[in-house]
Symmetry: C2
Subunit: 337 residues, 2 copies
């Protein structure tokens, strides 16, 4: 299996993505197809120990900036590192694609080049957030800021399939993110979506969940619109990093505490491992006809390597194909997009 990687995407570009991708390829036993300006990619590879990793470089002379207008960049830059990586997936030269680049441009280009999976109106971004017991999948994290109620139902169906296929969760439970547990709580969108989810096929709907229930992990899949999901994800990241900083500052405030803190260093490392929202390997774009993983722009090498793992896992499980088959069944009828 080969994973296509946008070699120049991300805040730090080649210097981080290329060694991170090689690390991921080695760790997860996959080949790489790296896209980007060929000479620059090859130069980065020369600075990396690539022994034992099967690597193909595909030239992509155009670069999409992190702040470029996503749809425009996707339309105009047909030879970008993003577009060339997606074409490799479309043409079967790679089984999945990873990019830490402009996430809006990746989503727009994925829609243009791979297209939607059958039965899916709007693709959604899903990622696992750390909880007391493991992880909760949350979607949408920012692909669709104003979804329709029936599109949230599709998100629930796609999230359940992902949980089942890629993560091996039998009969995953689904919660609708709201401002209270009762069925009467919610904004207009939630109030309209609740009865649709309650009767929807292909999901095990458990009712509304609140923001505090995400880190509690009381359901396997939390469904929400892309605006609220994005805010929730970033609040969680921000608070986790804030709390870690406060702990660090307090436990090193005196020489005696510093001594004690040294003993606890492995404990703090373990905490960081259980909490690092950036380490989870990025978000998966569900609902396009191919496996696409969008890593954080700030990804370090480890995060890129993890994203390769997420991409491989999704490709092995055939998530994109399963979604296409199942959503087409569940949403048989005229395509309402």
């Amino acid at each position: 299996m080969r994973v296509a990687v946008d070699a120049i995407g991300g805040d730090q570009g080649l210097a981080v993505v290329v060694p991170g991708a090689v690390m991921g390829a080695r760790r997860h036993g996959v080949g790489l197809l790296l896209t980007g300006p060929e000479s620059a990619v090859r130069a980065a590879l020369e600075r990396t120990d690539t022994a034992g990793v099967d690597i193909v470089v595909r030239d992509a002379p155009e670069v999409v900036g992190m702040d470029e207008h996503p749809a425009q960049a996707a339309r105009r830059k047909r030879r970008s590192s993003i577009a060339v990586a997606l074409e490799a997936v479309r043409d079967g030269d790679a089984s999945a694609m990873v990019s830490a680049g402009n996430s809006g441009a990746v989503m727009a280009a994925a829609l243009m080049i791979l297209g939607r999976a059958p039965g899916v109106e709007r693709p959604a971004l899903v990622a696992p957030l750390p909880t007391r017991h493991g992880h909760t999948l949350v979607l949408d994290l920012g692909a669709v800021t104003d979804p329709k109620p029936h599109q949230l139902v599709q998100f629930a169906q796609m999230g359940s399939l992902y949980a089942e296929r890629a993560l091996g969760i039998a009969r995953p439970t689904v919660g609708l993110l709201s401002n209270g547990e009762e069925a009467t709580k919610g904004n207009h969108l939630v109030l309209e979506t609740y009865p649709l989810l309650a009767t929807a096929a292909g999901i095990d709907f458990c009712g509304n969940v609140e923001g505090k229930d995400i880190p509690r992990g009381i359901v396997d899949v939390v469904v929400t619109d892309g605006f609220t999901g994005n805010v929730a994800l970033k609040v969680a990241e921000g608070v986790a990093s804030f709390v870690s900083d406060v702990v660090r500052a307090e436990v090193t405030a005196t020489p005696l505490r510093k001594l004690a803190a040294a003993v606890l260093r492995p404990a703090f490392r373990a905490v960081k491992g259980r909490l690092d929202y950036a380490e989870t390997g990025g978000a998966t774009l569900l609902g396009v006809a191919g496996m696409v993983v969008i890593a954080h722009g700030r990804s370090n090498e480890t995060a890129i390597a993890s994203a390769i793992g997420v991409a491989r896992q999704g490709a092995v499980a055939g998530v994109a194909e399963a979604i296409g088959v199942r959503l087409a069944e569940l949403n048989a009828g005229p395509d309402a997009a």
Copy 2:
């Protein structure tokens, strides 16, 4: 100054609220007007050391349950502990009101009994969330799940006035919560609100902020709809508590770590003090003609005492009156409610 307190509101009722209110009254130098079934309130007072605290009890035979329908409870139970406390504020017998009871019922009753402040269409809930440098005010936290863009502008104006008057922040900065910093990011509501905020009088608008910027504290006031604000608050509470639990579990995982953790106990206590979202004293309902503080249903005695402090601070600063005067000026013209 006297603060009216709903003595039976909250998950634990009298047993926590009465001693908490007495603690708060002593700490913040105010008198109390306690409302609830008189004999029960007096019995709770007998179990509390009330020396030196000026306490009046006002009988309120009806009880609003935590799960009762808010608007119905407010309409039907005119002699509830919530209603009687609000009437004391309306009639000038108390300068502010605190309740840890059914928050929806408190909001509905406050609108009925105190009414809206002049120029205000929809009251909003504001509370300070802990940040690296102190606190950021966030509103709305759940009063209005689907506000109109011009109502978000009013939230910004009310939040700024509260920051200025009650917290002494000169020219507070305002951010609009969105899924990206750029002016082009947001759902429909945010995209429509942004240009209104950019030209609104009475605020210092700094553009969009993201979820991670709340714990960073990069603006004084974060404005959002009540649905997103409620989710953000509860995600923050949930993640802070989750991280604390993970730290506690890891630092006590071995006997040696336990020993080191004992040395660090004051550090962990300091962390808890800086992070406890429940300790901040509850949310203030801005935009009604009186000072109303809604404490967390799960409030312990310290949280109730803090809520008394928040109520006193707002009453001394004349926040409700200032909002009435200023919002009427800023929104002169036909009342669009």
